[in-house]
């Protein structure tokens, strides 16, 4: 790894002096690898490590230093049915996940993930991840929302394994460190621009080196996308500023579909504006949500659970209060989370991080004032459609077809294990299992050192032209203005509260915002560490994700999981599962909504085309693990 870095620095130094002479030409460097991974978060690192260990010459392209990927924010843990706290069975975890997905998850992928979970955790432990332990030295497991025993009938399950409060960081540190011993080549602070596609086959990626502005075409037999989610399309999200949907946008530009993008998970309490997460633990400790009239409004929406009702119920209640005019602040666009009625001692000992975060990001002293909060985008269940092996698929003539050379894993992908709603602590599991699955599939199908098919000399030309156009853009709207327009449109029209007329209006507004990109104005003409340019490229990516999300949401006329519509409040399945099935006429594929959305965008016009694909209802092995037939989801 050290040699590659040094060589590319030398080359870039020589090349840079030529670049200065040619004003808008870019030096292009070609590389050849067996596999290239885009993104160095939990999923990307696991895939890169797995491939390097198996002897493949692997490159990993990342716009951030690996341990600074958004995975580091994860403090929860990894679910696995190890059975250390009580008797446990991965089939119960399978059931919980299928139910949690509101029967939109593909049961073969969920079977794969939950069955592999214990082995994946033990494997991480062997790599050196220091999971927290019980007194007997077994891995400590704790409770997490949505996890039950005996198919929902045995009470709360304890299956979340963690490394104190830094599971995400430990995962990244361990995998990054290990992958270096196998000689993985890291291209750190390189921004991946596009996939190199040739006749429907993926042949690698083209990336911009931020350090010297050179373009790199990284050719490989296998490309894995692990770029994470796209929370930044919304005004308020818990994600870092790096969650810009780069991978999903690259796939869209390549003419391939994205799946289920309308399913966006909202966490009820993120700080208004900043979006930093305020843990559910606050409400667990007695914190209450208040509207402009000082009323504890959750008592009306959930008389029993009140402020501790499930996340989607609380989010929707908050949104209804705001829409009915009882929001707080000058724009009446959020509500208050009140903690000052709790003893200061309790706040200090049980919720130490909250007081600091509230002061730093909201200027609020929690012992005296309430925190302004809003339902905040937290996770994207949708993404690049793959099968349970991690291979990206397209759907033509009613059949799934594998795209040769392309794989995806992590939040960027939709295998789909989370379906319409994700359970807590299943995300880190998803990263590890499917990162490994991509590596295993490639190891099965290919050998290290396979000869690459030739690449057209002009491959990647369009990406460079786009880069150049953005770098010298001189329209009338600044990047930050267009971004704000997009974020406000998404927040006002495709947030928790969704209804036909509001969504339709949003689709039209989003189309205008998309068109306004023609008028973008950037100010930094440099090529070295040009943050303005990178943020503009990210904005292009965000817009592609946003138009698909809002159009898919507008079309889906039902409520399922995280997608809740006021005008279509029920799930529309092939049968009405709230009644006995006998005597019911099965609805045709066109008449019901228990299906995956596939969205395509024409990047030039911003026009979205939607198609649908059936959910996979059978597990990998019906004898071993029977599939869970759909039912009404109640907790």
């Amino acid at each position: 790894m050290a040699t590659v870095r040094a060589a590319s620095r030398l080359l870039s130094k020589r090349v840079l002096s030529r670049a200065k002479a040619i004003s808008t030409q870019y030096p292009v460097v070609d590389h050849e690898f067996d596999a290239v991974v885009v993104g160095a978060g939990g999923a990307g690192l696991r895939a890169a490590f797995g491939l390097s260990e198996a002897g493949f010459n692997t490159a990993c392209v990342t716009k951030l230093f690996p341990t600074r990927s958004h995975t580091v924010a994860a403090q929860g843990g990894i679910n696995a049915a190890l059975g250390n706290m009580e008797e446990d069975d991965w089939r119960w975890h399978f059931y919980d996940t299928v139910k949690g997905s509101d029967w939109l998850g593909d049961q073969d992928a969920i079977h794969y993930m939950t069955e592999q979970a214990p082995a994946a955790v033990v494997e991480l432990e062997n790599f050196g991840m220091p999971f927290s332990r019980t007194e007997d030295g077994k891995i400590y497991q704790r409770a997490f929302g949505g996890q039950s025993l005996k198919y929902g009938k045995g009470g709360q399950a304890h299956r979340c394994c963690c490394v104190a409060d830094r599971t995400g960081h430990s995962l990244l540190h361990t995998l990054y460190g290990r992958s270096l011993r196998y000689d993985t080549s890291y291209f750190v602070e390189y921004f991946a621009l596009d996939l190199l596609m040739d006749d429907g086959v993926c042949k690698g990626v083209i990336a911009l080196c931020m350090e010297d502005g050179s373009i790199h075409r990284i050719r490989a037999q296998n490309t894995i996308i692990a770029t994470g989610g796209y929370g930044r399309t919304y005004f308020s999200c818990t994600s870092a500023h790096t969650s810009t949907g780069d991978g999903t946008a690259m796939v869209t530009r390549a003419g391939l579909p994205c799946q289920d993008l309308e399913f966006v998970q909202f966490h009820p309490t993120g700080i208004y504006g900043a979006g930093c997460l305020i843990t559910e633990g606050c409400r667990g400790e007695g914190g209450i949500l208040i509207n402009s009239e000082g009323e504890r409004f959750m008592e009306r929406y959930a008389p029993n659970a009140k402020d501790l009702a499930s996340r989607d119920v609380v989010s929707r209640s908050m949104t209804i209060e705001i829409r009915e005019g009882r929001g707080v602040g000058p724009e009446k666009d959020h509500v208050h989370l009140q903690l000052h009625h709790l003893p200061p001692q309790q706040l200090a000992s049980r919720l130490p991080g909250i007081s600091e975060t509230a002061m730093i990001f909201a200027g609020v002293d929690v012992t005296k004032e309430p925190i302004p909060v809003l339902p905040t985008v937290h996770y994207n269940m949708g993404g690049i459609p793959t099968n349970y092996k991690g291979q990206v698929i397209d759907h033509t003539n009613g059949k799934d077809k594998v795209v040769p050379g392309l794989y995806a894993c992590g939040e960027a992908a939709s295998a789909s294990v989370h379906g319409a709603n994700r359970l807590g602590a299943n995300s880190l599991l998803d990263l590890v299992v499917f990162g490994r699955a991509c590596a295993l599939t490639i190891t099965d199908l290919h050998k290290p050192g396979e000869k690459l098919t030739p690449l057209k000399p002009s491959a990647g030309e369009e990406s460079v032209a786009n880069l150049d156009k953005l770098r010298f853009a001189n329209g009338s709207l600044r990047t930050s203005e267009i971004r704000l327009n997009m974020q406000k449109t998404m927040q006002n029209h495709a947030a928790v509260f969704r209804t036909g007329s509001v969504l339709k209006e949003g689709c039209d507004k989003m189309d205008d915002v998309y068109q306004s990109m023609e008028n973008i104005k950037t100010f930094d003409r440099g090529i070295v560490w040009n943050t303005d340019l990178v943020e503009s490229l990210e904005l292009q990516n965000l817009l592609l994700n946003a138009v698909q999300t809002i159009n898919a949401a507008e079309q889906r006329k039902e409520s399922r999981g995280a997608h809740a519509r006021e005008d279509f409040k029920d799930r529309v399945d092939e049968y009405d599962y709230s009644k006995p099935l006998e005597g019911q006429q099965k609805k045709t594929f066109d008449q019901h909504w228990r299906k995956h959305t596939l969205s395509y965008v024409d990047p030039k016009t911003g026009k979205v085309a939607l198609k649908y694909r059936p959910v996979i209802d059978s597990s990998l092995n019906e004898q071993d693990c029977a599939h869970v037939p759909p039912a009404i989801r109640s907790y």
Binding site: V163, G177, A274, T531, V534
Partner: protein, 181 residues
């Protein structure tokens, strides 16, 4: 098996600051046994390139809290830092592998290791205290750089005014400060 039968092995090496932190011990063995390559300090990087790189690296962090904190800090201080201050800042934001550590040191939840103590860390700690109770709602947009490149070195006061104007136009609600838009 009774759920209460299990108990964490070690009481904990320092209390957890994490939100979902009811988890026991953190042995930190991975950090000891899996050492990462040492952080490469760039000694021959021109000062203006260093500033540009640190701007990118301040704005793109692992979690939202650091993204907002460091990008507003960078807007306020980055362009007036001396070379040695830039080197301190570079080490501070690039050497630690866990972004949360930088947040805990800045908020003084944990003591700052000696190697990161210094002028820049003091500035960051003071900045984090938010004595003016400003609402730090998001990373600032980059246009302040364009305006700066047209003027001579702006004063800290001017930069604060620019920042406040921007916040007002973006979000009307600023506690306790009367602004004219």
């Amino acid at each position: 098996m009774c759920q209460a039968a299990w108990r964490p092995a070690i009481a904990g090496m320092g209390s957890s600051r994490g939100y979902r932190g009811d988890a026991p011990d953190d042995s930190r063995i991975d950090l000891i046994e899996i050492p990462l390559p040492p952080w490469p300090e760039r000694t021959d990087e021109p000062i203006d390139i260093k500033r540009r790189r640190l701007l990118y690296e301040s704005r793109k962090r692992g979690m939202l809290e650091n993204c907002i904190l460091l990008s507003i800090f960078a807007k306020q201080y980055l362009n007036t830092m001396t070379y040695s201050q830039l080197q301190q800042y570079d080490r501070l934001i690039n050497e630690p592998s866990n972004d949360w550590d930088i947040y805990y040191w800045a908020t003084e939840a944990y003591p700052t290791p000696e190697v990161y103590q210094g002028e820049v860390m003091d500035l960051l700690k003071e900045f984090t205290k938010n004595r003016n109770h400003e609402q730090r709602l998001d990373a600032p947009s980059l246009e302040y750089l364009e305006e700066e490149s047209k003027k001579e070195m702006p004063s800290g006061q001017e930069m604060c005014t620019e920042f406040q104007k921007e916040m007002t136009s973006r979000l009307v609600y600023v506690r306790g400060i009367i602004m004219e838009t």
